[in-house]
Symmetry: C2
Subunit: 165 residues, 2 copies
């Protein structure tokens, strides 16, 4: 992509590191999952669902929210941003969390996608549509309510969906 | 609102019935929850979660999808549409489903909002961001995976969030 745009890829790499860093810079993301996820994983597999929801809310309840909302707005209206956001979610967030569970690739993909569906839904309900009581409830109450869902999707008993042939 | 716009409210009512019918007409919704929800409720409380997810996917996998996507795009970018969509979801969809369960109002609101978070997340993951395998999986596989979550939110064991005082 950088080459097609007449830009030396080595220069992009020098300034932005990886393609993911470039994406983070492009969306002016005030958080880098690479630095936040280790503490999520620290809690151990029994509390993984809760930890993931807690981190999501900490980021979105903090100064990153305007950038996050702008990103969601752009992704919903624009095919290209949607693809960037999807790749970012899958490669930077889901693969890192689910990757610690040592699962076959298809199972990891399905559990990651189900997890994404609940996390994106929380963002939409709490921050975009502002559905009460989710919009104003203390973060820890959402962690308690939604954490078990994410836990089930990540490592619990679930009939996993697969890609249609 | 109709009066402020110089329109006779009786005339609006004559053409559109209730405010909700007006909303459905305004968004050119090809489906009216009032006619679809009874069959969801028919399955009985043990299968309510599955039935709700199945109906959601039937509507979105059908001809209503373009209108649905347009509505989501508008709601994400526009405070006023977001409020309309929220009111519609709460009054027309959630209240009708949760209303059959005979719960105290605060509990009904919390269970409805949690349900909304998962349903909106499925729409975003499957139809907007197109995260695989959710984007291409057969509907019934999603019903099997996500139905138990909605079932838990509607009538299962869940630590309910409340509005912050």
């Amino acid at each position: 992509m950088a080459t097609a745009a007449g830009v030396d890829p080595a220069l992009v790499h020098h300034y932005f590191g990886t393609k993911d860093k470039l994406f983070l810079a492009a969306i002016e993301a005030p958080v880098d999952p690479g630095t936040l996820l280790p503490e999520v994983l620290e809690a151990g597999p029994e509390r993984l669902g809760e930890s993931v929801v807690r981190l999501l809310l900490r980021v979105w309840d903090g100064p990153a929210r305007p950038a996050g909302l702008a990103l969601v707005r752009s992704a919903v209206g624009n095919e290209w941003t949607a693809r960037l956001l999807r790749e970012f979610l899958v490669s930077q967030v889901l693969r890192r969390v689910v990757g610690t569970l040592d699962l076959p690739p298809a199972e990891a993909e399905a559990r990651g996608a189900l997890t994404a569906s609940q996390l994106i839904g929380v963002v939409m309900a709490r921050y975009v549509l502002r559905v009460e009581p989710l919009a104003s409830a203390p973060a820890e109450e959402l962690v308690a309510a939604v954490g078990p869902t994410v836990q089930r999707y990540l490592i619990g008993d679930v009939a996993l969906p697969g890609r249609r042939d």
